[in-house]
C-alpha cells in the first residue's frame, strides 16, 4: 500500500489531468442520454410470454391506444353528447392519431325486418335533444355488449373516447398534443386518461422531474450534513466533486453503451451521492487526521491504511448491486444492478486516486477542525461511547433482541405488489384513470389469447368463442372480444342468428363485409392465420392472477390441436412472472450478497470469526428492514426488492471500517478496550456522519412521484439508521467479548 501511495503522489498531476479529461469526454456522452419510459421494453426478450405480449400489443394496436374518460351525471344528455363530439373531433384532429372511437362516431350495425342498417349509434350531425329519444338511445346502448363497459359505463355516467396512435410516430408527443387540445375544451365533469402511451408520458415526466429536482436536492442536503459533520469545506467539496465526476462517468457509460435511463437507473445518481461519497469521505477523513505533518506525508500515511478498507467496503457494495443480475425478470433491474455497481467502482477509483492526488496539494496543518475532532472529546465521541460502554452491558443486547422479535413478527405480514399502476401516487392521472377503468368499465389489464390457425374456418372461430366463454366464466374477466363475435353478429344480421356459421362460404362472405374495417386490424393479422381474443382482468391481486395463469394455461394446453394452437399472454401473466422473479431475486441476491460479504470481510480482517461478527449488525438490520415492511405495510415491489441487497452493500461499510480500525489498534498493541475506543473515536465518527448523510440522501427519494421509489427511500433511510446504530453498539460488545477473554488477551 505504501508503494501505491508513492505511485499516486509521484503521478498526482497526471492523475488529476486524466480524471478531468475523461470527465470531459463522459460529460459529452452523458448529455446525449435518453429516457426510456416504455414499460414494455423492460420485459425480457428471451421470455416467450413477454415477447408474445409485446408483439401482440404492437401488431394489434393494443399498446397504441390513448384512452380519455369523461364522467358526469348522465352521458346521454344533449350537452354531454356535444362535449363527447368535441373531444372526439379534437383527438381526431391531433397529428399522429389514426382513428378515434367514441359514442358519437361508433358504427352500429343492426339487423331488422327492413334489412341491415349500418349507421351511427348517435348521429353526430344531429345530436338529439328530445328526452325520450335520448332515453331510447341510452337503453339501446346499454343493452349491447359491444358498448356497455367498453364505451360507456353500465350506469351511464362515464364514457370513453379512444384514439389509436399511428405506428411509427412518437407516442408520447401525440399524447401531449392531444391533452393540450382536450384541456382547452371547457368541460365541467371529470376527465381521465389511460392507455400505455399515457402511462409512458407520465413516467417520462416523472423521471425527468426526479432528475431535475430530487438529484440536486439530495446533493444539497448531503453537502449540508457533511458540512455540519466535518465543519470543513474541503471535507465536503472534495467528496461531492468526486461523486459528481463518478455520476458523469456512469451516465456517460450508460449513454456510450447505447442504454437509456429507466425508472430505476434514474436513481443511480442519488445512490452515488449517498453511498459513493462515503469512500471519498473516508479518505479525506483519514488524510485530515494525519494533517499535522506535511500534506504529502499525511496523504502517504493515510492512504497506506485507508485504501484497503475502502476497497473492501466498495467491492462488497458492488457485489450487493451485482447480485441483482441473478434471478431478475425485468431488464431494468439488471441494468440498475450493473450500472450502480459501475458507479460504485468509479467512486472507488476516484476516491483512492483523484482524492489523495488533490489533497496532496493542500497546505499543511491548515485544517484545524479536522485535527480537533480526532483529538479532542467531541460530542460524537461521547455519544458513541455512551451507546457502547456506558449502557449496562446487558441492556444493549436486550434492546436489540426485542427489536428483532418485533421485526420477525412483521416479516410474515409482508405483502407483494407487481402491478405497474401501483407505481403512481393516488393523485396521479394514470392511477385515477386506471381506477375509472376498473370500477366502471371492463378493466385495464389486457389479457390476450393468441389463436394460431385459419381464422376463417368454422372450427377455429368456434374454438375462439368457446375459449371466450371459459374466460368469461371467471368472475374477474367481465368481457372478451374477438373476430368470432363480429362474425356471429353479422350472421345474426343476415337473419341466421348469433352463431358461427358451419358453412365456410358464409364466413368468407361475412368477412368480406368486415374487411377493411379498422376493428379487424385489432383482431386478426393480414395473412389470416392468427387471431387474438382481447379480454380484461379487473383484479391485480396476485392470487387471482396466479389462478388465471394456471387455469388458463391448462386450458390452452388441453384445447390446442393440430388445427389451431392457443397461447395466453397479457399483463396478468407478466405480473405473475414479475412477482415470481421478485421473490426469486430477493432470495438469490440476499444469499449471494451475504455470502460474499462474509468471505470478503473474513479475508480483510484475516479471521472468519470477524467476518461473521461483521455481518451481525447487517443481519439485525435486515430483520428490521423486513419487519418494517411488514409492520408499516410497505410491499415488496420492483424497487423495494432492491433494498435488502443495498442494505447489505452499504451497511457492511460500517462493520468493515469499524473492525479494521479495531484491528489496526490491536496491531499497534492497544488493549481490546483501547482498540474499541480508538475505533469509536475515528471510524465511529465517520460512521455517524455517513449514516446521517445517507439517511438524509435517501429520504429525499420520498419526494419522488413514483411510489416504489418513495418506499425504497424510506426503507433505506430506516435501515441505514439501524445499521449505523447496530454497528456502533453491537460490534463493540462482540469485539470486547467476555471479560475473561480480554484479560487473557492482555
Amino acid at each position: 500500500m505504501k508503494r501505491y501511495a508513492d505511485f499516486i503522489l509521484r503521478y498526482r498531476l497526471a492523475v488529476i489531468t486524466l480524471v478531468l479529461l475523461v470527465t470531459g469526454i463522459m460529460a459529452y456522452f452523458a448529455r446525449e442520454i435518453e429516457i426510456n419510459a416504455d414499460v414494455m421494453s423492460y420485459l425480457p426478450e428471451e421470455d416467450e410470454s413477454a415477447s408474445l405480449f409485446r408483439r401482440i400489443g404492437e401488431t394489434y394496436g393494443g399498446n397504441e391506444m390513448m384512452i380519455v374518460g369523461l364522467e358526469s351525471d348522465n352521458v346521454f344528455d344533449h350537452g354531454m353528447l356535444n362535449t363527447i363530439k368535441q373531444f372526439t373531433d379534437s383527438i381526431r384532429a391531433t397529428e399522429g392519431i389514426g382513428y378515434v372511437t367514441s359514442l358519437t362516431n361508433v358504427i352500429d350495425i343492426r339487423g331488422s325486418d327492413f334489412g341491415i342498417e349500418i349507421g351511427r349509434l348517435i348521429d353526430e350531425y344531429d345530436i338529439p335533444e328530445d328526452k325520450h329519444e335520448l332515453l331510447r338511445i341510452k337503453e339501446y346502448t346499454l343493452s349491447k355488449d359491444m358498448y356497455r363497459g367498453n364505451l360507456v359505463s353500465g350506469d351511464g355516467t362515464a364514457t370513453l373516447v379512444i384514439g389509436k396512435i399511428l405506428p411509427g410516430v412518437n407516442r408520447t408527443g401525440v399524447v401531449e398534443r392531444a391533452r393540450e387540445k382536450i384541456e382547452s375544451i371547457g368541460f365541467e365533469g371529470s376527465v381521465y386518461y389511460g392507455g400505455m402511451p399515457v402511462t409512458m408520458l407520465e413516467l417520462n415526466n416523472i423521471i425527468l422531474k426526479d432528475i431535475r429536482f430530487i438529484i440536486p436536492l439530495t446533493f444539497i442536503v448531503i453537502s449540508l450534513v457533511l458540512l455540519a459533520g466535518f465543519r470543513s469545506l474541503k471535507g465536503v467539496l472534495l467528496p461531492m466533486v468526486t461523486v459528481l465526476i463518478a455520476i458523469t462517468w456512469t451516465l456517460g457509460t450508460v449513454s456510450l453503451l447505447g442504454y437509456e435511463i429507466t425508472l430505476l437507473t434514474n436513481i443511480i445518481p442519488v445512490i452515488l451521492i449517498a453511498v459513493g461519497s462515503a469512500y471519498a469521505i473516508h479518505v479525506v477523513n483519514a488524510v485530515m487526521a494525519e494533517m499535522h505533518s506535511f500534506p504529502a506525508d499525511a496523504v502517504k500515511k493515510a492512504v497506506s491504511y485507508i485504501v484497503l478498507p475502502v476497497i473492501l467496503a466498495s467491492v462488497t457494495t458492488m457485489f450487493g448491486f451485482l447480485s441483482f443480475i441473478a434471478g431478475s425478470y425485468l431488464t431494468m433491474i439488471r441494468e440498475f444492478g450493473v450500472f450502480s455497481a459501475m458507479g460504485i467502482l468509479f467512486s472507488l477509483l476516484l476516491s483512492v486516486s483523484f482524492v489523495p492526488a488533490v489533497l496532496s496539494f493542500s497546505g499543511p496543518g491548515k485544517n484545524k477542525s479536522g485535527r480537533k475532532k480526532t483529538a479532542g472529546p467531541s460530542p460524537l465521541k461521547l455519544n458513541a461511547a455512551m451507546l457502547s460502554k456506558k449502557l449496562p452491558r446487558r441492556i444493549t443486547p436486550a434492546i436489540w433482541a426485542l427489536v428483532a422479535i418485533i421485526s420477525i413478527s412483521g416479516i410474515a405480514r409482508i405483502e407483494r405488489r407487481a402491478d405497474i399502476i401501483d407505481y403512481f401516487r393516488d393523485d396521479n392521472i394514470v392511477k385515477q384513470g386506471e381506477e375509472l377503468l376498473n370500477e366502471k368499465f371492463h378493466g385495464s389489464s389486457p389479457l390476450y389469447l393468441q389463436v394460431k390457425g385459419d381464422v376463417q374456418s368454422p372450427e377455429v372461430l368456434s374454438a375462439m368463442r368457446e375459449a371466450q366463454e371459459y374466460m368469461e366464466g371467471y368472475s374477474y374477466i367481465p368481457y372478451s372480444q374477438s373476430v368470432a363475435d363480429l362474425i356471429m353478429q353479422m350472421n345474426d344480421v343476415m337473419g341466421e342468428g348469433p352463431i358461427i356459421p358451419v358453412d365456410r362460404a358464409k364466413i368468407a362472405q361475412l368477412w368480406f363485409l368486415l374487411d377493411g374495417q379498422e376493428i379487424m386490424e385489432q383482431h386478426v393479422n393480414y395473412e389470416l392465420d392468427e387471431g387474438v381474443v382481447h379480454a380484461y382482468v379487473t383484479s391485480s391481486k396476485l392470487d387471482v392472477l396466479r389462478e388465471i395463469d394456471e387455469k388458463f394455461n391448462e386450458y390452452t394446453r388441453l384445447k390446442s390441436s393440430d388445427e389451431y394452437q392457443l397461447t395466453l399472454t397479457g399483463v396478468p401473466v407478466m405480473l405473475k412472472s414479475l412477482d415470481d422473479s421478485i421473490i426469486r431475486s430477493q432470495a438469490y441476491s440476499l444469499a449471494i450478497a451475504l455470502a460474499l460479504v462474509v468471505v470478503m470481510t473474513s479475508l480483510l480482517l484475516g479471521s472468519f470469526r470477524y467476518g461473521l461478527m461483521a455481518i451481525l449488525p447487517i443481519a439485525v438490520t435486515l430483520l428490521v428492514l423486513f419487519g418494517t415492511m411488514g409492520l408499516a405495510g410497505i410491499p415488496l415491489d420492483i424497487a423495494t426488492v432492491l433494498s435488502g441487497s443495498v442494505t447489505i452493500g452499504i451497511g457492511i461499510d460500517y462493520s468493515v471500517h469499524f473492525i479494521s480500525r479495531f484491528g489496526e489498534g490491536q496491531k499497534q498493541g492497544l488493549s481490546r478496550g483501547g482498540s474499541i475506543s480508538r475505533a469509536i473515536q475515528t471510524s465511529g465518527r465517520a460512521i455517524l456522519i455517513n449514516m446521517i448523510a445517507v439517511t438524509a440522501g435517501f429520504a429525499m427519494l420520498t419526494l419522488s412521484e413514483l411510489v416504489p421509489l418513495q418506499r425504497f427511500g424510506i426503507l433505506i433511510a430506516v435501515t441505514m439508521l439501524t445499521a449505523g446504530l447496530a454497528t456502533l453498539t453491537l460490534l463493540p460488545l462482540m469485539l470486547y467479548g467476555k471479560k475473561s477473554d480480554d484479560n487473557n488477551s492482555n
Binding site: 389514426g98 342498417e117 337473419g495 368480406f512
Partner: protein
C-alpha cells in the same frame, strides 16, 4: 475585384428572377380575379361532373389491387353496370370465395346486398358513407355517383401546369367526412387528375390519382389509385372492357336480377 463582380451579377440575376416572379404572380392574380371568378370555379366543377357522368350507361370490369403498409397485396375483381347517376350494380367475380357477392344501388340511397352463400338479399340502409367499400380505400362516399357540384362549393385556388386547382368545401347540409377536397382538373377536357381530401381536422387524409383515357368520344377513368394516408393503405382500381351506351335494361338493376347468380 472579380469576386465582387460575380456577386453583383448574382444579385442582379436574383433581382431579375424576383421581378419576373412578381410579374407572374401579378399576372396570375389578374387572371384569377379578372378571367376566372368564383362562378367560374362552379362552372369548372359543373363541367367535371358532366365528364364524369356523360354516358347514359356504362359497363366495365374492374380489378382492385389492395396494398397494405407492409406491401401485402390482395386482388379482387368485379363487374360493374351503371345507368345514369343513380343505378349501379357491382358484382364480385374473384376471388372464388367472394364471387357472386353483389351490391345494388338504387335512387334515394336504397342499397341491396346479396350474398350467394346465404342465398338471399338484404337491404342495407347506410347512414354512414365513410365506411370502407369492400375493404378498399374507397368509402361509399367516394364511390357515390352523385354530382360534386350539388354537394360542394368550389373556389379556384390557382393553376398547376395549366390545370385548374379547385378547393371543394361541403355545402351546408352535406354530410362529408372531408373538410375539404383539393382537386386538380384538366383545363382542356375537364376530367379530374388528382383529388387530395382533408379530414375534418384539416389534415391530409386521402389522395386519389386519376388516369383518364378517351374512348368512344367519352373521357373515362382507366385507373384510380387511392391512398389512405392514415391507414398507409393503397387501392388501385383498374377499369377494363369499358362499354358505353349499350342500352342497359332497367331489369338489370332489380332485386330479382341481384339474386340470380
Amino acid at each position: 475585384m472579380k469576386p465582387a463582380a460575380v456577386t453583383f451579377k448574382k444579385a442582379a440575376t436574383k433581382g431579375i428572377f424576383k421581378a419576373l416572379l412578381t410579374l407572374t404572380v401579378f399576372a396570375a392574380s389578374i387572371h384569377c380575379s379578372g378571367g376566372l371568378k368564383a362562378e367560374d370555379a362552379a362552372e369548372i366543377l359543373r363541367r367535371m361532373d358532366e365528364v364524369l357522368f356523360a354516358a347514359r350507361d356504362q359497363t366495365s370490369s374492374v380489378t382492385m389491387i389492395l396494398t397494405d403498409r407492409n406491401g401485402n397485396e390482395r386482388v379482387r375483381e368485379a363487374s360493374v353496370w351503371q345507368k345514369g347517376t343513380d343505378k349501379r350494380l357491382f358484382r364480385f367475380t374473384a376471388p372464388a370465395a367472394e364471387a357472386g357477392i353483389a351490391f345494388l344501388s338504387l335512387p334515394d340511397d336504397v342499397m341491396y346486398l346479396y350474398m350467394p352463400a346465404y342465398g338471399r338479399e338484404r337491404r342495407i340502409a347506410t347512414h354512414v358513407k365513410n365506411q370502407s367499400f369492400a375493404g378498399t380505400d374507397f368509402s361509399y362516399e367516394d364511390l357515390e355517383a352523385a354530382n360534386y357540384s350539388k354537394r360542394y362549393e368550389a373556389s379556384l385556388k390557382g393553376m398547376d401546369n395549366g390545370n385548374y386547382i379547385l378547393s371543394l368545401k361541403p355545402l351546408e347540409g352535406t354530410r362529408s367526412d372531408y373538410s375539404e377536397i383539393i382537386v386538380t382538373v384538366n383545363s382542356e377536357h375537364y376530367y379530374p387528375l388528382k383529388m387530395r381530401s382533408l379530414d375534418r381536422g384539416g389534415q391530409d387524409y386521402k389522395i386519389a390519382e386519376y388516369n383518364f383515357v378517351e374512348k368512344d368520344g367519352y373521357w373515362t377513368t382507366r385507373e384510380i389509385t387511392m391512398t389512405n394516408l392514415k391507414r398507409e393503405h393503397t387501392t388501385r382500381m383498374i377499369f377494363d372492357k369499358i362499354e358505353f351506351d349499350t342500352g342497359l335494361d332497367d331489369d338489370i338493376f332489380t332485386v330479382r336480377n341481384l339474386t340470380r347468380y
